[in-house]
């Protein structure tokens, strides 16, 4: 299946793209997508324990299932305000 990955801030810079299509075998979770992403963008690996995710604009756990066509955003630690 294919999902659209969105990256922000430092993750976006390290991967060199703000969005991309990632192909993963079904069934998959957000963690599966993250690992596939890290294969193509190894610079992201150090964020493994600090990343949060949102599936279709809803905060989700990394263990949450993703479906074909989902929009999966990975978020580095935040610093708003």
């Amino acid at each position: 299946m294919r999902v659209t990955v969105r990256l922000f801030a430092r993750l976006r810079e390290l991967a060199g793209a703000e969005s991309m299509t990632v192909e993963v075998p079904a069934p998959a979770t957000a963690a599966t997508v993250w690992r596939a992403l890290c294969v193509t963008a190894p610079a992201l690996v150090p964020f493994e324990r600090a990343v949060s995710c949102a599936i279709n604009t809803n905060f989700s756990r990394m263990s949450h299932a993703v479906a074909d066509g989902d929009d999966v955003a990975f978020l580095p630690p935040v610093s708003g305000g």
């Binding site: 969105r6 610093s79 708003g80």
Partner: protein, 160 residues
């Protein structure tokens, strides 16, 4: 009352909107507290030239709505407005405006403080600092919106 915008923020406009939203509710509005976050000229001893803020706009608006709901749950007379600016900001520019309107003054300060603490914990917004001699993304809280301990900590700070 909730916004992510590239435009300069207006305290007066947001305050008027938030106050009007509770003027006719319950006891009405007797207090409006505002908080502005502004771009500081230094960070850990380094001179800051300017900042850039980036947000996941759609999710940030949902998070602001969640913070609003949490505030009203704890302070039923409250109305809360949150506007975050994104893009390039100069020293002294406001990056965030928070307005809390309540029936009485004590709650207005508490709601304001609660809201900024929650923004810092869970809003998908990122600060990129540009110094005289380099640049750095600021990485603060790892977002976990279900973290009840974080929410309790924000409440404790607000009510201290």
């Amino acid at each position: 009352m909730l916004a992510v915008t590239r435009a300069p923020l207006s305290v007066d406009a947001l305050a008027a909107e938030v106050e009007a939203s509770v003027r006719e509710h319950g006891e009405g509005c007797g207090a409006v507290a505002s908080f502005l976050g502004v771009v500081r000229a230094t960070h850990q001893g380094r001179a800051v030239r300017y900042l850039e803020y980036e947000a996941f706009d759609a999710l940030a608006l949902k998070v602001f709505a969640q913070i609003q709901a949490e505030a009203v749950d704890r302070w039923p007379s409250a109305a809360l407005g949150i506007a975050h600016r994104v893009g390039r900001l100069a020293i002294g520019d406001a990056s965030i405006v928070i307005i809390a309107a309540t029936a009485h003054r004590a709650e207005a300060f508490q709601v304001c403080r609660y809201a900024i603490e929650r923004v810092k914990q869970i809003a998908p917004v990122w600060k990129h600092e540009f110094f005289e001699d380099g640049e750095a993304w600021v990485e603060g809280a790892i977002v976990n919106p279900d973290d009840d301990a974080a929410r309790a900590r924000a409440m404790e700070i607000a009510c201290a």
